[in-house]
């Protein structure tokens, strides 16, 4: 039965070959543009997300609290109105207290790796040049488990920080700016006034010029000494097996350790919102292309319905039901949608392959960049699904009209 209706629908379309081809072209172009643009936008989005997730900690414990600690007297009388005068804050070394115990505790939790980090500002001096850098004190053997930095090493090794406590690993951009080479000795001064000499034992290149020019890694003990924070760290970096679980994990960890714990989603909230808005705009634009294509389909099927009133009447007289007639015209939309999909996906793949060859250099980046495209089945399914939906919706109204044709009215109308 369905075969018969599809065959009849195909004959109708073939009888209006030119209009059918035009509406088919609309779907082909719609699908291909939808596919290419959404794959490009989604690809770049995934690339950004990948960088966010991959190159930054999934969860970070900071030496801070979301809500300030209440004074003991306020804790003691929670219902009372307490006003304290002349409170003198206790001077203390900032940092996460008892971090080894917290780390042990975290490492017992399944699905995560944790590493301590002490970050601070420092001034690197070499050959009369000074540059401010973010100094990261790490335990290399632990840090490489939570970071991708090892992947970006171009000279030397991060692991050497374990054996060479006076070593420093810097970005190749900083090295270029300061004319540094491997094994050069640099002076590093902290904001507390302490100065140490370090030997360059490694260079990394992440492709992000601000990171490559502004970050340096040293052994944790040396950083604690330089920044005058003995036995303290100010960050615990956590990597999860499932990055998407970061939001929930961060909340769970914060409940345990009480220090402010930030997931990558929270840290990138603004960016995530911007990406969502960008995605909505993108789908609205590419969807509009298919809406235009749908009008083409509507036009051709409406014309067929108007022209085939007599044939519809005779089919009804033969014994075809109203819903058969409706299905026959819906099948026309499905045929245009399906064929349009096949050619549209083929053209879309061509466009995507072409876009992947486009390369350019972003301002501030030392690398050549390529467009990242998302070739996932989801993109194809989405383009195909939207096109089919548009085609079926466009054919639905004329199909309904065809089903409502009263054969007697048409037959009375004469020959």
């Amino acid at each position: 039965m369905i075969r018969l209706l599809v065959a009849m629908a195909a004959r109708h379309l073939l009888s209006r070959r030119r209009q059918s081809v035009v509406s088919l072209l609309g779907v082909v172009l719609g699908v291909s543009f939808f596919l290419a643009i959404s794959a490009m936008m989604r690809g770049s989005e995934l690339d950004i997300m990948h960088r966010l997730v991959d190159n930054a900690p999934h969860v970070t414990i900071e030496d801070d609290y979301r809500t300030p600690t209440r004074q003991p007297v306020a804790q003691m009388f929670p219902e009372a109105l307490v006003q304290l005068h002349h409170v003198v804050p206790q001077t203390e070394t900032r940092g996460i207290r008892g971090y080894p115990r917290i780390l042990d505790d975290l490492r017992r939790m399944p699905g995560l790796q944790a590493s301590a980090l002490l970050g601070g500002q420092a001034l690197v001096s070499f050959a009369g040049k000074d540059r401010a850098v973010g100094l990261n004190g790490i335990v290399a053997s632990e840090y490489v488990r939570v970071s991708t930095i090892r992947r970006y090493m171009v000279r030397g090794s991060l692991d050497e920080l374990e054996t060479n406590p006076n070593g420093i690993v810097v970005g190749d951009e900083l090295a270029r700016l300061m004319s540094l080479t491997m094994n050069d000795n640099v002076n590093v001064a902290s904001t507390t006034g302490q100065v140490r000499t370090f030997k360059v034992i490694g260079l990394f290149h992440t492709g992000r010029s601000d990171f490559d020019a502004g970050q340096a890694f040293v052994a944790l003990k040396r950083a604690q000494s330089l920044l005058d924070r003995p036995n303290r760290i100010n960050t615990i970096v956590i990597r999860l097996v499932d990055p998407d679980a970061a939001l929930a994990e961060a909340a769970r960890i914060e409940q345990r350790v009480r220090y402010k714990t930030v997931s990558w989603q929270e840290r990138s909230e603004d960016l995530m919102s911007a990406l969502t808005i960008r995605r909505i705009i993108m789908y609205a634009v590419v969807g509009a292309v298919l809406v235009v294509a749908a009008f083409g389909i509507y036009n051709v099927i409406s014309t067929v319905v108007l022209e085939k009133q007599r044939d519809i009447a005779i089919l009804r007289a033969m014994g075809f039901e109203a819903r058969d007639i409706e299905r026959m015209f819906l099948a026309q939309g499905a045929i245009i949608g399906a064929i349009g999909n096949v050619f549209g996906i083929a053209l879309g793949c061509g466009l995507m392959a072409g876009l992947m060859r486009v390369h350019f250099r972003f301002p501030g980046s030392s690398d050549v960049s390529y467009l990242v495209l998302d070739w996932s089945a989801f993109q194809f399914a989405l383009a195909s699904g939207v096109a089919m939906f548009a085609a079926m919706t466009a054919s639905y109204l004329p199909a309904r009209r065809a089903a409502k044709v009263e054969p007697v009215d048409v037959l009375r109308g004469g020959t």
């Binding site: 039965m1 018969l4 004959r11 033969m318 014994g319 039901e321 819903r323």
Partner: protein, 224 residues
């Protein structure tokens, strides 16, 4: 015997600003093997009566009994099913679907019914066309056929599912005299030799004279 079709006091009225009565209190019965000519002036309600008999239209009042079964409670699907299995239409114009060949036009009702396999449908369409002297025209498009040939293809299509009732609305109205005589003979054969009930609306008095019975209708009323 219930008769192939029976109309009991059937009225069809169109509700408009000025209501129009197309068929007024019509009662008739057509038996298998009988050819009934429905005659009357233009606009008298002949075709409307035929559409009611063919379940294309529904009566405002009265009952249509097909093969002994009252069709009053039929929905769209049941009326379509009854048309598919039991009723064959032939119109003044052949109304062949232009996108299909002669054979494919004849195959359509059989494909819709789905009682036979594709090969059997193909073969039966060929047999029906051959029986109407159209063996060499099977694979031609409607535009390649003459008026008489097209009308014979339309008759073959009406016979596709072996209906017991044939309803013909001015089947010779657009044909020349030779083709008209051929079609008349075929229609009479359907009743007299094949035992089908046939109702023919016609203005052709010679054709009406050959029918077993003539029903005259004026202003929607069957004349005594």
């Amino acid at each position: 015997m219930p008769g192939a079709i029976r109309l009991d006091h059937v009225t069809r009225r169109l509700d408009a600003d000025v209501p129009v009565t197309l068929v007024d209190d019509a009662s008739l019965r057509i038996d298998a093997g009988e050819c009934v000519a429905i005659v009357g002036p233009s606009g008298s309600g002949k075709s409307s009566l035929l559409y009611l008999m063919g379940l294309l239209d529904q009566p405002t009042r009265g009952h249509i009994v097909l093969r002994g079964e009252d069709t009053a409670g039929y929905g769209d699907a049941e009326r379509a099913e009854a048309r598919l299995r039991a009723i064959g239409f032939v119109f003044q114009s052949h109304f062949l679907l232009p996108e299909f060949t002669a054979r494919e036009n004849v195959m359509l009702p059989m494909r819709r019914l789905g009682r036979l396999g594709e090969d059997a449908i193909h073969a039966r369409a060929g047999e029906l066309l051959a029986a109407l002297d159209l063996k060499t025209q099977c694979d031609k498009w409607p535009r390649q056929l003459s008026g008489g040939q097209s009308q014979r293809v339309a008759i073959a299509r009406a016979l596709a599912n072996d209906p017991m009732l044939i309803l013909a609305d001015e089947p010779t109205g657009n044909l020349d005299s030779v083709a008209s005589r051929t079609v008349q003979q075929i229609i009479l054969t359907l009743a007299h030799e094949q035992g089908r009930a046939v109702a023919v609306v016609t203005h052709d008095t010679s054709f009406a004279a050959q029918a077993d019975r003539r029903i005259r209708i004026v202003d929607g009323r069957i004349q005594p």
